[in-house]
């Protein structure tokens, strides 16, 4: 592993920590500000600080330190949790996340001076309240401790980080009291690997108020015997009472296994102290019953934390480079193809019935499922970014929105999760900007002042359904239609259904916002959303009720790589129909097919009429289409256009197929979702059922509905 790799792990962990802190603060806002929650937030922020220090991201470390100090005061009850404080912390978290991005992308750190001042003020407010009943000027909490000369009142606007650190470090205050405890640190050679640097960690100890009592240099050999990769040094540090063992343990978290860290003085190796004074202190604190008690209580803390960690960890995990994982999954995909080829090769021979072949197929399917589950990620990764988005929107639009989330543990492929962010952001911006009314209008409509945005995700028949619903004014269909006519998107005399009108907002260049705001309204949003969703192999539909709200429903595949499908023969073509769309297949009996008007046939399935689509025409296949009566039809469900019956020559197989993108290898073709390689090595096109059905139904908008009405 290179130092860059380790940094990347650190940044990945930062993301997790940020999400954990955000979740914690959200539950605080919901009124659950108990010790565990605050502790979780503290730990999250603290671990970012630890890594930031180890990798030398000073602005990030500085900001986390200030944030952490406030959190630690909250944890210890010196500062009371209040809605205003939660708000402040949420904003601090946003800046923290900007800091992390800046450190990761090596861009200038965000300007945090205003927020830093607020954080310090909040913390000092608590200090003043806790420490001094008499009013104390908040800018100078150190006034009653003149003996500590490092305390410098922060200068508004321009912060000297060192002064700040000293000023707010509880260590500085406790130093005078001298109740200190000790720690022994001995890095192993591994601590120097991968760009690790124990000196940086010691620097952090110093920043916490730690002081080096002794450095054991007795093992350092002469130059001729020195190995530059070996470690020879061990340190004894004295830490202020206010710093807990957890705080110190966190610093060494990163090089956990590569560094011996001892908390119990009894275990310390004998080291000659640097100065006699320090040696006195060792004896004094060792004999002090108060400090002995301290050791016991501090001892219990890591134990409890350890138990909690073990419980939280549950199963062990391992980080894998995504590229490696993708290679594995590609390999499994090729294996699936190879297995299909093998099955095809032995078909008709005696070997085709052998048990091993069946076993191979079962095993392969299991391996494939596990491989795909590696890539599965809970959708929470995307949902977790929403609260911040809403806060930013609240700041710009003045509309406060309550968020409810359901099904955030629903898992789907990492690629889908990653590419979901953009359309989701657009939809949420749109919901807040256009959907949810201004406060005045909401009150008039008898709605609560605060708007509600509901996000939900669930698995439904091999796909994932994501719903983004607001309780706003709904789509103003009259205005949408007029705007569309005005822009020439539809003709003035067009008769459109409600659904068709709703779908107009996905048209390129469409926007009804009277004023173009910087949030949405440029008319680029919604068609991009639809494009994004389409690229993911999904569909988006709208459910809108005027005055009640609008819901956007995205249906997406769980994975982009492998799917189940029905292999059908149409003329001289072999096609794949994704199984997710297939409802049933049947041979229509005489009398079940009714011709309606020009070349349109309807199939009567248990009293319900659905249109029959001849795939021969759609794929331009040679040969005459079979007769629907007595032929094979496959009933498919499509998003938006309902059911349809696809007429094919025969069904040859049902199996898994590896999706190969046609866009990257050729170009986008209407009605085709991709291609796959068959067992015989031939290429088969995968049908885009939704697109195909929608296009076929759109072709006869005038005749079909009329005919249907006549039939009814």
């Amino acid at each position: 592993m290179t130092p860059e790799d380790i940094q990347n792990i650190f940044f990945a962990e930062c993301e997790e920590s940020l999400a954990a802190a955000e979740a914690g603060l959200s539950s605080c806002r919901a009124g659950a500000a108990d010790g565990d929650t605050v502790n979780a937030i503290f730990r999250a922020v603290h671990s970012i600080k630890g890594g930031a220090g180890a990798f030398g991201h000073m602005p990030l470390q500085g900001f986390t330190h200030i944030f952490e100090t406030l959190l630690s005061e909250v944890r210890e009850g010196q500062v009371a949790m209040s809605p205003a404080l939660v708000d402040l912390m949420l904003r601090a978290l946003d800046v923290l996340s900007d800091h992390v991005s800046a450190a990761r992308d090596d861009t200038p750190a965000p300007d945090d001076s205003a927020l830093t001042a607020e954080l310090i003020a909040a913390q000092q407010g608590g200090d003043a309240a806790a420490a001094a009943p008499a009013p104390v000027a908040p800018a100078a909490p150190a006034a009653d401790r003149p003996s500590i000369d490092m305390q410098v009142a922060p200068d508004e606007g321009d912060f000297d980080l060192d002064a700040l650190l000293n000023d707010i470090s509880p260590a500085a205050a406790a130093e005078a009291d001298g109740l200190r405890w000790k720690i022994y640190i001995r890095p192993h050679p591994g601590a120097l690997n991968n760009g690790g640097e124990p000196v940086l960690l010691l620097r952090e100890l110093t920043e916490l108020g730690g002081e080096c009592l002794a450095c054991d240099i007795s093992d350092v050999p002469t130059l001729d015997a020195l190995d530059p990769l070996e470690t020879y040094l061990g340190w004894t540090f004295s830490m202020p009472e206010a710093v807990s063992r957890d705080d110190v343990a966190d610093i060494f978290d990163f090089i956990d296994e590569d560094c011996q860290v001892l908390f119990d003085e009894a275990d310390f190796p004998q080291i000659a102290a640097i100065t006699p004074l320090a040696a006195d202190e060792v004896v004094a604190s060792g004999a002090d019953p108060a400090s002995a008690g301290q050791v016991v209580s501090a001892n219990a803390a890591p134990g409890a934390a350890g138990a909690a960690n073990a419980a939280a960890a549950g199963g062990q995990s391992i980080r894998i480079d995504l590229a490696k994982l993708d290679r594995l999954i590609d390999g499994v995909g090729e294996l699936v193809i190879a297995q299909a080829m093998l099955a095809q090769r032995v078909q008709g021979t005696e070997a085709s019935h052998c048990e091993e072949l069946g076993m191979l197929e079962t095993l392969l399917r299991e391996v494939q499922e596990s491989a795909m589950s590696f890539r599965a990620q809970p959708i929470a990764a995307v949902f977790n970014r929403v609260p911040r988005l809403l806060r930013e929107l609240a700041a710009t639009t003045g509309k406060h929105v309550r968020l409810t989330i359901a099904g955030e543990t629903t898992e789907l492929d990492k690629t889908v999760v990653e590419r979901l962010g953009e359309p989701l952001t657009h939809l949420i911006r749109n919901a807040v900007d256009h959907g949810i009314e201004q406060v005045v209008d909401r009150l008039e409509a008898g709605k609560p002042v605060e708007g509600t945005l509901s996000l939900s995700a669930e698995h439904r028949s091999g796909r994932i359904v994501i719903r983004i619903a607001d309780d706003g004014r709904g789509i103003d269909r009259y205005r949408v239609l007029n705007k569309a006519i005005e822009k020439g998107l539809v003709s003035a005399d067009a008769q459109l259904t409600d659904e068709e009108i709703d779908n107009l907002i996905f048209a390129p260049g469409f926007s009804t916002a009277e004023q173009v705001s910087n949030i949405s309204g440029r008319g680029v949003g919604m068609d991009v959303v639809r494009q994004n969703v389409k690229e993911l192999g999904g569909r988006i539909t709208i459910e809108s009720t005027p005055g009640v709200g609008t819901a956007f429903v995205m249906t997406l595949p769980l994975t982009l790589a492998i799917s189940d499908g029905m292999i059908v023969q149409v003329g001289d073509q072999t096609l794949v129909i994704p199984l997710a769309h297939v409802v049933e297949s049947l041979r229509p009996q005489p009398g079940e097919v009714q011709g309606l008007g020009a070349g349109c046939q309807m199939l009567n399935i248990r009293g319900r009429f659905i249109p029959i689509l001849e795939l021969h025409g759609a794929v331009g296949s040679a040969g005459a289409p079979p007769k629907a009566e007595g032929g094979v039809v496959i009933v498919v469900e499509s998003e938006g256009s309902g059911r349809a019956a696809l007429l094919v020559d025969s069904i040859t197989d049902q199996r898994q197929f590896v999706i190969k993108s046609l866009d990257t290898h050729y170009r986008t073709v209407d009605g085709v979702a991709g291609a796959t390689i068959l067992g015989d090595g031939g290429v088969a096109l995968i049908l885009d059922v939704d697109g195909l059905v929608a296009a076929a139904i759109a072709k006869r908008p005038a005749t079909a509905p009329v005919a249907m009405r006549e039939a009814a």
Partner: protein, 86 residues
């Protein structure tokens, strides 16, 4: 006296480079190590410097503020920089 100048960034790689150089020079006279341009120093180089101080007639290290600060944090001020302790 032989003078050896330390680089700005005294990381592990720098320590591995400096070690043979120092070992070759160490002998009858105290080494003079110029650390006035050091901006960063890690444990590996600190060990090399300590070792140089303990080898043969020892070494005299002139320190930059960064080096002095690192020595202070690690409790090595006396062991590295004191003239008498050599």
């Amino acid at each position: 006296m032989s003078t050896v100048t330390l680089p700005e960034n005294c990381d592990r790689a720098a320590a591995a480079v400096m070690l043979p150089e120092l070992a070759a020079l160490a002998g009858g006279v105290p080494l003079e190590i110029d650390g006035t341009s050091v901006r960063q120093i890690g444990q590996a180089m600190l060990q090399v410097l300590l070792s140089a101080r303990r080898s043969g007639p020892g070494a005299i290290i002139s320190a930059s503020p960064a080096l002095r600060e690192a020595a202070r944090i690690t409790g090595l001020e006396a062991a590295l920089l004191d003239l008498e302790a050599a």
